[in-house]
């Protein structure tokens, strides 16, 4: 990389100020505030707060409710990530073989990406509507009495389906461009070296897609854990009761519905640490080994 030379030491700092101030105002300041308030018990009506030490954290550690949500988040993230990556990869591999109509196909698929999460959630509600949702009827055809917003498992299934559906286009575009950046000659060399298309894919194509796949893995984990908020919020129709939710949604529910700002802050701090670990994992452990050039 080229190093830029600055004669005035203040100039680079000046150039960095806008970005740094945005990060400071929108991340460091709220983060610091969350850490601080996670050690206090907030009065629900805003009349002061009491220092409680690590009590908010110990409460979380002992809460079976929290553990249940945490496990759901793990399953939800794993399933959404796996399905959205594998379906998108399958679609991309198929689209890569097609020359005609590929552009139209790509555009059509990309439209889904432009849908806002709450709208996607709302579409999900319509599809899984108790009385006339087409997917409810479809499941009913197999004898599955689908009850969105009532049955824990059914609601979770619907959330996963909508979350996966929403994420496939992004993954698809990345996979497709990844596939198309594999040199044609390398594929042809593989064609001469190996007669089995299946083996060729796993021996040559997939390893060359690995940098893309890893990048998408991180993006998808982040998506499933944090960006599915809108979908979850819409699909449980404001009734968190017995419905499944992710950790991020629980932060919102406990903080703004339950007015437990201290406990909610402690939960956010835990999530922050999780993101930090994920980032370190991304940069330190895998990214280094997965690039070939």
């Amino acid at each position: 990389m080229k190093r830029a030379g600055f004669t005035n030491p203040w100039l680079p700092i000046l150039l960095l100020v806008p970005q740094l101030s945005i990060i400071a105002v929108f991340f460091y300041w709220p983060a610091a505030w969350a850490i601080q308030s996670s050690f206090y018990l907030q009065d629900p009506f805003g009349f002061g707060s009491t220092y409680v030490g690590a009590e908010n954290y110990t409460d979380i550690a002992e809460s079976t409710e929290y553990r249940k949500v945490a496990w759901f988040t793990v399953y939800f993230t794993a399933i959404v990530t796996f399905l959205s990556l594998s379906i998108a990869l399958l679609l991309a591999v198929k689209a890569d073989n097609v020359l005609r109509g590929a552009k139209t196909y790509r555009t059509l698929l990309m439209w889904v990406y432009a849908i806002a999460p709450p709208v996607a959630g709302f579409l999900g509600i319509m599809f899984f509507d108790q009385s006339h949702g087409p997917l409810t009827r479809f499941f009913g055809f197999f004898g599955w009495d689908f009850k969105l917003g009532v049955d824990y498992f059914d609601t979770a299934t619907a959330m996963i389906i909508v979350a996966v559906w929403k994420q496939i286009p992004v993954n698809f575009i990345f996979f497709l461009s990844g596939l198309q950046s594999i040199p044609r000659a390398v594929r042809e060399a593989a064609l001469i070296d190996n007669g089995s298309g299946f083996r060729r894919f796993w021996d040559v194509t997939f390893p060359l897609l690995a940098p893309t796949a890893f990048f998408l893995l991180i993006i998808n984990i982040t998506y499933a854990m944090f960006d599915t908020f809108g979908i979850i919020d819409t699909m449980m129709k404001g009734e968190p009761g017995a419905n499944p939710m992710t950790l991020v949604y629980k932060v919102y529910i406990d903080g703004f519905r339950g007015n437990d700002l201290g406990g909610s802050s402690a939960q956010s701090v835990i999530l922050m640490v999780l993101v930090l670990v994920l980032t370190i994992f991304q940069f330190r452990l895998i990214e280094r080994r997965i690039h070939y050039t």
Binding site: V186, R199, D203
Partner: protein
Amino acid sequence: MAQVLLEGIHKVYPNGFEAVQTCSFTIQDGEFVVLVGPSGCGKSTLLRMIAGLEEITEGTLSIGDRVVNDVDPADRNIAMVFQNYALYPHMTVAKNMGYGLKNRGISKAAIEAKVREAADMLNLSDYLDRRPSQLSGGQRQRVAMGRAIVRQPDLFLFDEPLSNLDAKLRNQMRIEVRALQRRLGTTAVYVTHDQVEAMTMADRIIVLNGGRIEQIGTPKEIYNTPASTFVASFMGAPPMNVLNATVSDQQVTLDAGLELPVSAPAASSGPILVGIRPEDLTLGEGTTPFDVQIVEELGAQRLLHGTLGGQAFSVNVNKDHEAGTGTIPVGINPGAVHFFSREDGFRI
């Protein structure tokens, strides 16, 4: 090892573009055949059809005594070396070379032995554990060669394998590739647009132009008796001088009125093209005036560019032959003059 037989091979792309016109030829067992021509002449398409990477529109292709039109590339027992090497970037040198064998169910030990042997042959033994990105261009080229060798194929296919190398390395690799092919005795088809590679490496050259075979012959035949003005000007650097002229009673007169001291074949008359190689001329002899405008120093030779009877003309002289600009008489070796039809450019 095998002979390759092409019968009425024809390639038309779905968009209607005719890449290769119907052609037939045989490549003998152990022969090194070079397909040469300008870009877009169909040479790569022809090679890719032999490899099975491109479908054959019409005709029959046999390798050995087996018709392979519908045989998968992996089952044709061929090996191909690509222009940009096409190595697997995520595999080590050893794995790159052994990958094709692994898929044929050959034992690990046998693969390792073969890879080692090929690596020895190509001076790659110290690099077996490296990734392609850690190698120089010449080394990558060798790995690509190694990958082809270890398979012990019936047929080597080369698609401009040296064009990404610098000039010095290219000359060296040219000799290495040729020597290797001789040693192994494997039939080879080599595609290039470089006439020097074609001349130096080939047992036989196939010159292609616009999807059509212009001429098939040994390098000597191609050079000494080019079948058309295209072959004449494509093969040889500097290219052959081709002049517009008219013949009457075997007397050749350039279009500007200058008479050449050569006699045309008895069958020819009317407008024709006269071809003379720059090195088949002697300066300071004869009576034909050559107007020299530019002198190019090439070290061993001197290349004089100018006009003869108003048409562009070049003469190649030895380094110890003094030459300057201005008009100078030039002697033409009558035995080295080629005559072509002005209508279709073919040899008369």
